[in-house]
């Protein structure tokens, strides 16, 4: 069963705010000069910011209660390049439910930006009773 897709916009301002809130001040997430010097196409989003947005989607799917999430895992497959403009980048998060033993379900999470999957093997284990039907 598929869950309702969630769409998020990521701008440079979001990356600055996330740097402060998370304590991850790596300049590849705010300085084009540093990002291009290490071979990136430009400033990229924190992998953990992308995971946080995927987590928002999962939380929305379990009726907004974080206690319904027992596991959350991902690999970081591809960076999200965030241009220095008002539009930024757009991330779409989709999920498919697979029943597990007992009152648990696995949500296979897909996160796509500019037509490419940015997370790999992303999944959450949740209490099935919390899923919105």
């Amino acid at each position: 069963m598929s869950l309702e897709p969630q769409t998020y916009r990521i701008t440079r301002a979001d990356l600055v705010r996330y740097a402060g809130a998370s304590g991850d001040f790596n300049p590849i997430h705010w300085s084009d000069r540093v990002a291009t010097a290490v071979g990136l196409p430009g400033v990229i989003a924190h992998g953990m910011f992308t995971m946080a947005l995927a987590g928002r989607a999962v939380t929305a799917w379990v009726s907004g209660d974080p206690s319904a999430i027992t596991e959350f895992t991902t690999r970081f497959a591809r960076p999200i390049v965030v241009p220095d403009d008002d539009n930024g980048a757009e991330l779409t998060v989709t999920g498919v439910i697979k029943p597990l033993e007992g009152d648990f379900a696995q949500i296979d999470v897909t996160a796509v930006c500019a037509g490419e999957k940015v997370l790999a093997g992303a999944k959450a284990v949740v209490r099935a009773s919390a899923l919105r039907s």
Binding site: R17, M51, F72, T74
Partner: protein, 146 residues
């Protein structure tokens, strides 16, 4: 100089107590756009059975950062953080983190491998209350680029 493969199994001492603040949870929730009342309004959190505002699922990364700092500061491990990218992240939750929690991190190096000149460091960090209650287990794979 690369990662020291003899460090697999090494456990770092527990980090200093991190007191989870209400405003820090609100700031983190705002930064990721999580507007649910449970993250911002203590009364809403209490009505849902919590003691205070509840952290979003990935807030635990702010805790594990203190354990990563320990590793960066350890010359025996040989972690060159300027070449690190985040490879994988897993959280297993016993319960959500809430404002007022007094938490420590105990990090163990669980795997070190090398492939095509890249180093891979896997660590498992137990986030516990200072009284020893396990709250979150965070497993992280860092890639040290060649």
């Amino acid at each position: 100089m690369g990662l020291n493969p003899g460090y697999v199994g090494h456990t770092y001492p527990a980090t200093a107590v991190y007191v989870v603040g209400r405003e820090k949870i609100r700031e983190f929730a705002t930064a990721i756009g999580a507007t649910e009342a449970i993250h911002h309004d203590p009364e809403a959190a209490v009505a849902s059975g919590y003691l205070d505002v509840v952290a979003p699922a990935t807030f635990a990364i702010a805790l594990t950062a203190t354990a990563v700092e320990q590793m960066i500061a350890d010359p025996e491990l040989g972690l060159d953080f300027s070449r690190v990218v985040h490879g994988e992240q897993k959280f297993a939750y016993a319960r959500p983190i809430q404002a007022g929690d007094r938490l420590v991190c105990e990090a163990t190096v669980t795997d070190i491998t090398e492939r095509a000149g890249n180093g891979f460091l896997t660590t498992t960090t137990q986030i516990k209350t200072e009284l020893g209650e396990l709250v979150v287990t965070a497993t992280q794979k860092l890639v040290v680029r060649a």
